[in-house]
Every structure is written in structure tokens, then in C-alpha cells.
């Protein structure tokens, strides 16, 4: 299921639930790390994804991130991130600006931001799920992507994957997004 959401102030999100966008990264490297997690383990494999379009004046922040969470037995979240530095195929279904050049892939500068934000915010994320998270779907814009948008995509994706209900309303989904996407996630909760 895919849902398009308005986040106000011209900001938009697309959410994939129990499916993944057509943006699989052909990873050249895998970044792996794990961290203690306080949330519950999921009972079965979950898939989810997010695309964000966040105008900030003469600039629009953009990114897409998706992945699969599988059950785990230890109180840890193990994360694997597919990294791709080369320009992969264009992601044509994007909600980005028309001039934006959006490619499937996840360069190291964004993959590293994913790792750092999980490590920095883990204690605040009481719902940080237990299990194995495989992030291998991503797209980035030549102009609008940056580390900050991928930090927020990561935290929002973790919240989405940890949500219990299989039948989430728009109001439920809106709870995963912060008030501000320009501040660091650890500063906006």
C-alpha cells in the first residue's frame, strides 16, 4: 500500500507499507552495525518506505529510504545498509522537483549519516525495534539530498517499522514525522 501525505507548509511524504518502492540499491559495499534496542521484536517480517519532499525556501530537501525488518531474539537492532556510489538508474516515480536528477542508490555520505543518527538517538527512541534491519532501497537527488534529510528518513522509517497496527490511518502515519526537518533529529524528538 502506498499513501501520499501532506505535512503542511508545502511539505509532502509518500509512505510504503508492506511493500517497497522500485528503488533497490545495487550495493557495492555494506555498512553494518548493531545497537541495544528497547522495543519489541516484530513477529513477522515488515517492509516499509518513505519519500520526503521538504521545501525550505529556494531549496527543496529530498530523499527516499526503505527497508525490511525481520524478527530478532536478542535485545539489539542489527542494521545493514547497502551503499552505492555510482549513479544507478533514474528513479522516475519521484515526487521531487522537475529539475531534480533523482537516482536510485545510497552514497556513503548518506549511509554514514544513517548510522550516526541511529547511534545518536537510540536512547530517545523507546520504540527502537529489536531485529535485523536491511536498508537496501533508496534514492537521492543531486540538488536536494543531504545528510539531514536522510537522518530524518532513518528515524521516521524506524518509527514506521515499529508501529503495531497493520491498518494505519493517515493520522497514525503523521505521528512519525517531526515538526522540523532542518534541525537534527536529536533536537526535535
Amino acid at each position: 500500500m502506498t499513501k501520499d501525505l501532506s505535512l503542511g507548509k508545502h511539505r509532502r511524504a509518500r509512505v510504503w507499507l508492506a511493500e517497497l518502492p522500485d528503488a533497490q540499491v545495487q550495493g557495492e559495499q555494506i555498512l553494518t552495525f548493531s545497537i541495544g534496542a528497547q522495543g519489541r521484536s516484530v513477529e513477522s517480517t515488515r517492509q516499509a518506505g518513505l519519500e520526503l519532499f521538504i521545501p525550505v525556501g529556494p531549496r527543496t530537501m529530498y530523499g527516499l529510504l526503505a527497508g525490511t525488518l525481520t524478527p530478532g531474539t536478542e535485545a539489539r537492532l542489527e542494521v545493514q545498509i547497502a551503499i552505492s556510489e555510482r549513479q544507478e538508474q533514474l528513479y522516475r516515480e519521484t515526487m521531487a522537483m522537475g529539475y531534480e536528477h533523482v537516482c536510485v542508490g545510497l552514497p556513503y555520505e548518506y549511509a554514514k549519516a544513517l548510522e550516526q543518527v541511529v547511534l545518536a538517538t537510540a536512547k530517545q527512541l523507546k520504540s527502537l525495534p529489536v531485529g535485523k534491519l536491511w536498508i537496501d532501497y533508496a534514492a537521492h537527488g543531486r540538488v536536494g539530498s543531504n545528510q539531514r534529510i536522510f537522518e530524518h528518513l532513518t528515524i521516521c522509517l524506524l518509527k514506521l517499522l515499529a508501529m503495531e497496527s497493520a491498518d494505519l490511518s493517515d493520522a497514525d502515519l503523521l505521528t512519525i514525522f517531526p515538526n522540523s526537518f532542518t534541525e537534527a533529529p536529536e533536537n526535535v524528538g
Binding site: R11, P55, R59, E151, T182
Partner: protein, 90 residues
Amino acid sequence: MDSFGPNEEMVAGITNAFENGGPLTGAYQNFYQHELLESSLIDQGANYEAAHAAALAEYSVSPFSLYAPEVIDAKPALFNNVYRLLVFGQ
């Protein structure tokens, strides 16, 4: 829209130039012209995306040319490696 530190730094640079009687040049000129036209078009009923694209097209400005190098350099989490390559050659 979300407040965006680089916008505030660009506005501060533009304000400083006006107060000191200096000309606006480079990214500061691009930013100022872009924002004036974009907000005017939105006031006339255009949506954000159309106004943004029209403002870039009107002045034939690359979207990479709207922020000054010192602003890009000061906010590494908000500008990507493509900016750094184009602006600083690294």
C-alpha cells in the same frame, strides 16, 4: 516552511550589503532575486513548485548557485558532496 539556517545566513549577508551600500553579487544576488520573484508568483496564485521553477528559469540560475560558498561550507549536513564538488572542487 521550516526555518533553514542557510537561508538566515543568506538574508543576513544581503541585509549587511544593503546597510553598507555594497552591491549584491554572486549567490547573494541570485538568492535575493529568486526569493523576490518566487514569493511574488506565490502571492499571485502559483503553487510553490511552479513558482520555484519559474524563478530559476527567469534568471537562468543553477539551483546550485543560490547559496554562498561560506554558507555551504558552514553547514555540511545541509549540503551534499555535489555542492562541495561544484563550489570547492573537492
